[in-house]
Point group: C2
Chain length 168, copies 2
DNA sequence: AACATATAGTAAGGGTACCTGATTAAAATG
DNA sequence: CATTTTAATCAGGTACCCTTACTATATGTT
């Protein structure tokens, strides 16, 4: 029972952080817009993992409706971050290809270390990283269990992206 | 410099969690819809803190445009979660009042402890709570510094809500 | 009292992220 | 060759937000 209360407290804190960060991003604006796992960003991220996917593949891999996928791809085409080419094998399918600008967009969407992370000591930072790794690992497992078609691949990319983006 | 790398790692993990939880909520659906700090939920939350606020007060307090506030209030009226009454002192202002159903809505929007939290041990749960508390505290401070009109009050309510919701 | 200005709220229109249902075109299959 | 399946799109919707008018009502000034 004591364990239960601790779990609830931790879950509450996590939820609080999540909600709070929505407000935080809004108020304490970041200079550069972040690449989120929504809409167009999701597409770009998937294409970084594997380029020249069909819209269908994107939709399945991202757990989105083909209609939404079509919409976001269209928007990315307008922004010249991707191009569309008809597949020679199957003239129904549109292959989505990252342009250099698209690649650039992903690269440049780096993120700064938010100031609130700086309040933690060295030891605390290590603890936090370890704990969050445990949590995200469990999350990946749950997501894959719930929707295997989404593919672990995307998630792995996802993870590595958030580790890599600070490098350099 | 070693510190810097640790900070980046932790920040990356936190960002990863944040993004991941968007997907998680989508895929591993929760039975009951959560009350988020967006749109209508934001209004309800603010009214829990203090009822009978004018739309203007809500807008300032929530850092939203008056137009958006108006929209969400209207939607809540349609859902019969709030009512509008003209202020007797100033006939321009609309006071927004929580109905019993509105109060009920907030109460019932409880949240379960997500399974991934269960993967942590007792000690880890304690560590996580402590770390997240430190982080959210810093976030509250930053938000207040950036936008004092938003008021700490709302945030405090916010915090307590996420601690209280599991009780009972 | 009369006029100017400030304030509360709304209407209209826009943008982003999604969804469902219906439709078109091309491929696969009986 | 006709039918069915599949890739993508169109049309229309919901939720969350914003900006630019515009309407009442208040208040401050002359």
């Amino acid at each position: 029972m004591a364990n239960e209360i601790k779990a609830e407290l931790a879950a509450g804190k996590l939820a609080e952080y999540e909600q709070l960060s929505k407000i935080y991003d809004d108020i304490v604006k970041q200079a550069r817009p972040r690449l989120t796992v929504e809409g167009q960003g999701k597409i770009l991220l998937a294409l970084t993992d594997e380029d020249h996917l069909s819209q269908r593949q994107l939709a399945t891999r991202l757990g989105m409706s083909p209609q939404s996928t079509s919409e976001f791809v269209y928007k990315l085409v307008k922004r010249e971050l991707v191009t569309l080419t008809k597949s020679p094998k199957d003239r129904r399918v549109n292959l989505v290809n990252l342009t250099p600008a698209g690649r650039q967009e992903i690269e440049s969407a780096a993120q700064e270390v938010p100031p609130f992370v700086r309040t933690l000591s060295d030891t605390e930072l290590e603890q936090l990283s370890a704990l969050m790794t445990k949590i995200t690992t469990a999350m990946y497992a749950d997501i894959d269990a719930a929707n295997p078609t989404l593919g672990v691949k995307f998630h792995k990319l996802f993870a590595s992206r958030y580790l890599k983006q600070f490098k350099k």
